[in-house]
Amino acid sequence: MAIIINVDVILAKRKMKQKDLAEAIGITIQNLSVLKTGKARAIRFSTLDAICKHLDCQPGDILEYRPETTQ
């Protein structure tokens, strides 16, 4: 997947724990982990909105497009 999720980077910058963010945005820690590890198929606008609100950031800070290199 060429889309990279940078939630952990923002979490580290905000010195916030994964558990606290999960509780604040109303998703399980397992689902947050799925999102972080890039296993998620899609992200709801409502989830993105909640993450941005609680981490005080922009969607672009969380989502990054990194083209896959073909060998």
């Binding site: 799925v34 999102l35 998620a40 198929r41 992200i43």
Partner: protein, 170 residues
């Protein structure tokens, strides 16, 4: 979920009884010499029971077991599916595969029936158990039901995949 487990357990008992009953009925028919009933012989065809011995007897028994075996296989797959329900396994790939197997097994009952009807005449004629005859019958009731079950299993599988995908939407 508890209700499903209780119902599945009860149905499993019923299906198990049917699994045991099917060969018993065939054996009973053979024991009392109800060959026409066992072989599903068309009306008007008479069998010479005195000629049913040795290889002829084996052939008659094998022919008579074709349909009961098809039923037993279908019931066995149903028994397995109910076992999965009893364990609380629903909407899984294993479950869908079990339903698909039931579908094919049910469809094969009619195929077994048609095959039995088709080959019984020549085999009985060969062993001189009946006067020469050949019969064919078109049975599609179970075939349609079976294929419909296979279709339902396919749709269920699609639903399961969608559910799996949905669980990865955060």
């Amino acid at each position: 979920m508890e209700k499903l487990k209780i119902t599945s357990t009860r149905l499993q008992i019923v299906v198990f009884i049917l699994i045991v009953l099917m060969p018993c009925v065939a054996a009973l028919n053979a024991a009392i010499g109800a060959w026409a009933e066992l072989l599903n012989i068309p009306q008007g065809i008479t069998l010479d029971a005195n000629r049913i011995f040795g290889l002829g007897l084996l052939a008659v028994l094998a022919l008579g077991l074709i349909k009961p075996v098809a039923y037993v296989i279908a019931f066995w797959f149903l028994y397995q599916l109910l076992g999965l329900y009893r364990e609380g396994i629903i909407f899984t790939a294993e479950n869908v595969a079990a339903i698909r197997r039931i579908g094919w097994a049910v469809a094969s009952i009619d195929i077994a029936d048609m095959l039995q009807t088709l080959i019984t005449g020549p085999i009985l004629t060969f062993y001189e158990i009946s006067s020469g005859y050949i019969a064919a019958r078109l049975e599609i009731g179970y075939l349609i039901i079976g294929l419909f079950i296979v279709l339902i299993a396919y749709v269920m599988d699609m639903g399961r995949e969608l559910k799996e995908q949905d669980s990865l939407v955060i």
